[in-house]
Every structure is written in C-alpha cells, then in structure tokens.
C-alpha cells in the first residue's frame, strides 16, 4: 500500500484510480490513511460483500480467527473488465506498483 502511494503520481498520470478494500471500519481506515499519508480511497467491507464477490475471503485468518480478505490485486480497464490479476500464494508477497505499471504498459504501449 505504501509503495502504491509512493508511485501514485504515475497512476494518476495515466488516469488510473487506485483503491484498497479490507474488512476494517472507516474509522480505522481514516486514522491509518492519515497516519501513513494515503490519498487514495480505502474502502470498508466489514460484511465482506465485495470480498466474497471477488472470492478473496480468507476465513479465520484475522485477529482472533476473524474472517478477512486475502491479499489480491486486480487491474480493471475503463469498462470494468479485468486486465490483470495477482493472486499471491504467500500473504507477505504482494503485487508491487511496478508490476501493475508494467502490465499497463503491455496493455497500452503508447502509455495512453
């Protein structure tokens, strides 16, 4: 997340939005985004609606066995079609912004 914030201008230059989704409530997301200086939206999905629809639920993996989201990254085009997906097999290995930027370059070599 921090690395995406660092590279956010490159996404903004391509007019690509960045959004995070977790089970955390908006208050925690507000505190954390202030503390860490995140300027992109962090969305709160405590009822795991989006998390289930994307099939990224990790049952019992949270504190005290709570259900949380597993790390996963999706790149959608302007029509909402998935263009690139990263489903890690190791929860500490997440997509880096350069991987997504590289995927964007491959999709539109002109950088548009």
């Amino acid at each position: 997340m921090r690395s995406f914030q660092q590279r956010l201008p490159e996404f903004e230059a391509r007019r690509i939005s960045v959004v995070g989704i977790s089970v955390d409530p908006p208050e925690i997301n507000r505190r954390q985004s202030q503390k860490r200086g995140y300027t992109f939206p962090l969305l709160s999905d405590p009822k795991m609606r989006a998390i289930r629809r994307y099939d990224v639920l990790h049952p019992g993996a949270g504190p005290k066995g709570a259900d949380i989201a597993r790390p996963a990254e999706f790149l959608l085009d302007s029509n909402g079609i998935v263009r690139w997906v990263n489903l890690t097999d190791n929860i500490v290995v997440r997509a880096r912004p350069e991987q997504v930027l590289e995927a964007l370059n491959q999709l539109s070599p002109a950088g548009q």
Partner: protein, 142 residues
C-alpha cells in the same frame, strides 16, 4: 589448566537470535520480504559458527569449553530456525485458492462501500473519468 572461552558458540547463538528478531525490520523492504534472504543468511552464519564451536568443544575439550552450553544453545538455535521456517515457508503460504475470483477478460463485480471519510464509493464512480482502476484487497491494519 583453565580452558579457553569458546566464542563461536556464543556469537553464533547471538547471530541466530538477531536473525529472528530482525525479520520485522527486513520485512519492510520488498526485496528482503518476498524471500527472507537477510534472515536466512544470518541463520546460516549463526549455525555455522555454532557448529564450529561445537566441533572445538567436542574435538578438543581439554582446550575449549562449551560442550554442555554449546549443545543447549545449538538446540535452541535449531528450534528457532525450524519455527521461523515453518512460519515463513508454510504458514504464510496457506492462502485460499480464490478459484472464483474474476479472471482476465471477465467483468469485475460491482461494489458500493464506505471510504475512510464515510462516503459511499462504487466501482462505477471509480471507473467514470478514469482509464481504469487498481483494486487492492488487503488484510487490514490490526
């Protein structure tokens, strides 16, 4: 005759302990988090020193100390490395398969959720006026 201090045993043990507790630091950087090179290296150095110390302790016990304490510290060190390996190479990899996740070429499911300011944000809002969206699911901040 007073026997010599068997320093590799102690230094090796300390290096293994540093290898364990430095994980939190090295995990901040993707290059040492994606695979814990730094910790594996420290464990390797520590275990090698411990082995060297034990060889001295058992090989020339009349000169070097550390048969008992070396064995105990070596066992603790092996346990530390085993627990670390279990956590890093097994436990962290128990991620659900997500077979039903939207695939390349499929339409991404819609959502409408509150952002950090309590404002509802839908996928449609993010897609309008943009060339695309990076949706990042994360485990949360706890």
């Amino acid at each position: 005759m007073k026997r010599k201090w068997n320093w590799p045993i102690w230094v090796g043990f300390v290096v293994v302990v540093i290898g364990l507790f430095s994980y939190e630091f090295f995990a901040r950087f993707p290059i040492t988090r994606d695979f814990p090179w730094a910790n594996v290296l420290l464990f390797g150095i520590g275990i090698a020193l411990l082995i060297a110390g034990l060889v001295r302790a058992f090989g020339r016990p009349q000169i070097y100390r550390g048969k008992i304490v070396g064995s105990i510290l070596a066992m603790i060190a092996v346990l530390v490395v085993a627990l670390f390996s279990y956590e890093i190479f097994y436990a962290l990899r128990q991620v659900p398969a997500s077979a039903g996740a939207p695939r390349v070429g499929q339409k991404a499911p819609d959502f409408l959720l509150l952002d950090q300011n309590g404002t509802p944000v839908g996928l449609g809002d993010l897609l309008s006026n943009s060339n695309g969206v990076v949706v990042i699911f994360y485990r949360g901040f706890w």
